[in-house]
């Protein structure tokens, strides 16, 4: 008899659960559409969920001792957090392998993806992703051992080439080598943790990836390497958000671009305080400082992005301008701004942002 009672109780509970689930139907659907958008969600949560890399020195890497993330891309997560939340450290970085990036972004698990991700048409189209201001202009290159007798792309014929799965790198490699008629064997790894030792042990003679990544790994390698002269692609890397939330896309975009604008104005984290007395109305507007009109009334310019008026100030104070971010992270792996496409437009580079008016 006792068993009977238990069974019945279970059945009733199960039935109630089912009915409750059915009732919850309407409510859940509303929640999924997220009336407030990602911006409201992030402000509400108090943390920015950021998708990043954890195995790429210079761009995104986990510190072996403290477990903290650092790097160029991670700093842009901090830029967005500083702008939106006023606290650059309010980020939670989810390390992702290449193939996980877009499904994770689509599912809404992360608010922004900043993981050396190349802007391409098919990603814009097929992945429901919106690409924002390019933070790093890269190109795909090749690296070989210095003693291996490979000096140009022609020497690569029939060699094994190590490459990461699920990257545009692999797509370019296949397309370009196919067009040039150079046969090769692709050895495809899921992560750099296995690719790096495979290259160093000579399983593959050549490693192809974005030139910046090759430089970053070469700087941390015991063997001597040579970077081939050929650059076979354009790889604009930058933050990515999910389609369908223009407000959030604009917020991330302007937060990112503020670092370049600060660089153009010559504002750094060190000299930021000296600008409180600046006479330049453009700088005052940018930093959210009050502007006095002819009648002596003070007002703070409101750009209406949904960001605090002092967001640029917070970014520069807590993270720094583009040049500082670049030199801090990519200087140690041997990359320089001078003469590279990542230099400011006034110096002949490609970093050019719309005016902050």
């Amino acid at each position: 008899m006792r068993k009977h009672w238990l069974l019945r109780l279970t059945a009733v509970l199960l039935g109630l659960t089912l009915i409750a689930t059915a009732c919850g139907d309407d409510g859940d659907t509303v929640e999924l559409t997220q009336d407030g958008g990602v911006l409201a969600k992030v402000v509400d949560a108090g943390t920015l969920e950021c998708g990043g890399n954890d195995t790429l020195p210079g761009f995104g890497i986990v510190d072996a001792d403290s477990g903290a993330f650092s790097g160029f891309d991670i700093d842009f997560c901090r830029v967005v957090a500083a702008a939106v939340l006023g606290d650059a450290d309010a980020i939670n970085v989810t390390p992702l392998v290449a193939a996980q990036r877009f499904p994770t972004l689509q599912s809404g698990e992360i608010d922004v993806l900043i993981r050396n991700t190349t802007w391409t048409a098919s990603r814009d189209g097929n992945e429901q992703a919106t690409f924002l201001h390019t933070t790093f202009y890269d190109g795909q290159g090749f690296m070989a051992r210095a003693d291996g007798g490979i000096a140009t792309l022609d020497d690569v014929a029939d060699a094994s080439i190590c490459v990461l799965q699920g990257t545009t790198t692999l797509l370019n490699l296949n397309a370009v080598m196919g067009d040039l008629g150079i046969p090769f064997t692709a050895v495809e790894f899921e992560s750099n943790d296995e690719l790096n030792p495979a290259f160093q042990a000579g399983q593959c003679e050549v490693w192809t990836s974005d030139a910046s990544q090759l430089a970053s790994f070469a700087a941390n390698m015991d063997i001597d390497t040579v970077i081939l002269p050929e650059i076979i692609s354009k790889e604009p890397l930058g933050p990515v958000v999910a389609d369908g939330d223009t407000e959030w896309a604009q917020v991330v975009n302007w937060a990112t671009m503020a670092t370049v604008q600060a660089w153009e104005f010559g504002i750094t984290s060190d000299n930021l305080d000296t600008f409180t007395d600046s006479e330049d109305s453009g700088i005052r507007r940018f930093l959210g400082l009050p502007i006095e009109d002819d009648d002596g009334n003070e007002a703070v310019a409101e750009v209406g992005l949904g960001l605090p008026t002092d967001f640029a100030w917070n970014i520069i104070e807590q993270v720094g301008n583009y040049e500082e971010i670049f030199n801090r992270n990519l200087g140690p792996i041997g990359l320089t701004l001078d003469g590279s496409p990542n230099d400011l437009w006034t110096n002949g580079g490609l970093q050019y942002v719309p005016p902050f008016r």
């Binding site: 009732c23 139907d25 659907t29 189209g125 429901q128 799965q165 692999l170 797509l171 495809e188």
Partner: protein, 446 residues
Amino acid sequence: MNRRTVNTWGQTLGLAAVVMTVIILMGTFNVVTMALALLVAAVVFFVLRAALDLTGRDRSDRPPAYRDVKVIALGAQIFAVAALHTFLAYLWQNFKDRTDDIGLNLSFDFLDQPGGITIADNPLSANDQVNEAIRAGFENTIRIIILGIPLALVVGTLVGIARLSSNWLLQKIATLYVEAFRNIPVLVVILIAWSVYLNALPPANEGSRKPLGGWFIFNNSRFSFPSIKGLDNWEAYRGLMLVALLIAIGVWIWRTYVFNETGTPHRRTLWSIGTFVGIGAVLFVAFGGPFEVSKPFVDESGRIYTDGLRMQMPFAAIFTGLVVYTATHISEIVRGSILAVHKGQDEAANALALSGIQRYRFVILPQALRIAFPPLINQFLNFTKNSSLAIAIGFAEVTAVINNLFGQSQPAPQLILILMLSYLVLSLILSVIGNLINRRLQLVGR
């Protein structure tokens, strides 16, 4: 038509009508429509019952419908179906809402698009379609399974027997092996095999290891083995050798028959192999050498390979890792099954003066196999699924290929569905084969 038939037909019809109604009405699934559906279902059911009652049955001995056990039981079944349907429909609707929200494309048209990927030592080109790329990956998975499972079974069985050996050294070595590898995650075992091959062998461009006079070539990109290479008359020779195989099987059956009739030792293995090799040798001479054993060759750069059979190093690593790992589990199953055979069997075999090998071959193993087979099927399935770990070390089996594809902007939900179906199909085929063999093995009760 007797009473019982009417009753059964009525219930079946009623149930069908009710379920249909419920499912149609459930198109909008919420509590109100669900209640409505149940109400409609009940009405339909009672009307149907009433209609059937008009066929002239006397129902005065039955309780009213709401107290009729059969009606209540049927109602409960209907409710269960409706509830389950509501739940699944809710999940599906949730999924649809979400995918519509983010504008995900759920069609399978992408299968005809160019895949953009290549696979080492495979003719697949970057312009080939997505479905061809997936197929190539699937074939690589099957390669691991077909080569790996039989070897794991052989190694596992030998180690299982060794663990029961009275030879102290052999037993301890077997125990050490099993306890060491059984308790390490399989991914780690695969990575160990991979890094051993990676670091112990020279890179291809710095010269390879060539043991046994160059018949084998090892470097940390590829392993090469001798193979058979057909020359003139090869096609005809191969056809005739198939006939020779049939003859050899005939000889096997004949020797078995002779043994059963007269009791003379059959020696059927020896006989049939002898027949096959004999015919092969005669034909070889007659055809003027239709094949030769081809010696693998690699040029100095380590890039150009000709002749022989080639295996990529990552394939060797996943293969070694999986076999080493799975064999430990198989050996435990084999050991347990041998111990489960009653010891009287062994003693009886001993009393008949059978040698140690004969005791295992003819008495213990056939009985142990019967016990071991069902859990062995599980290990085969695990082997199949674990092959997906090749993704870590750069072997392009189906998981790696699909992982690669959805990095190339091909839609992830559909690809993951295809991936799941791939393993499901493989596992189900293995299960079916296993279950068929298992049924043959079981004792037939008389």
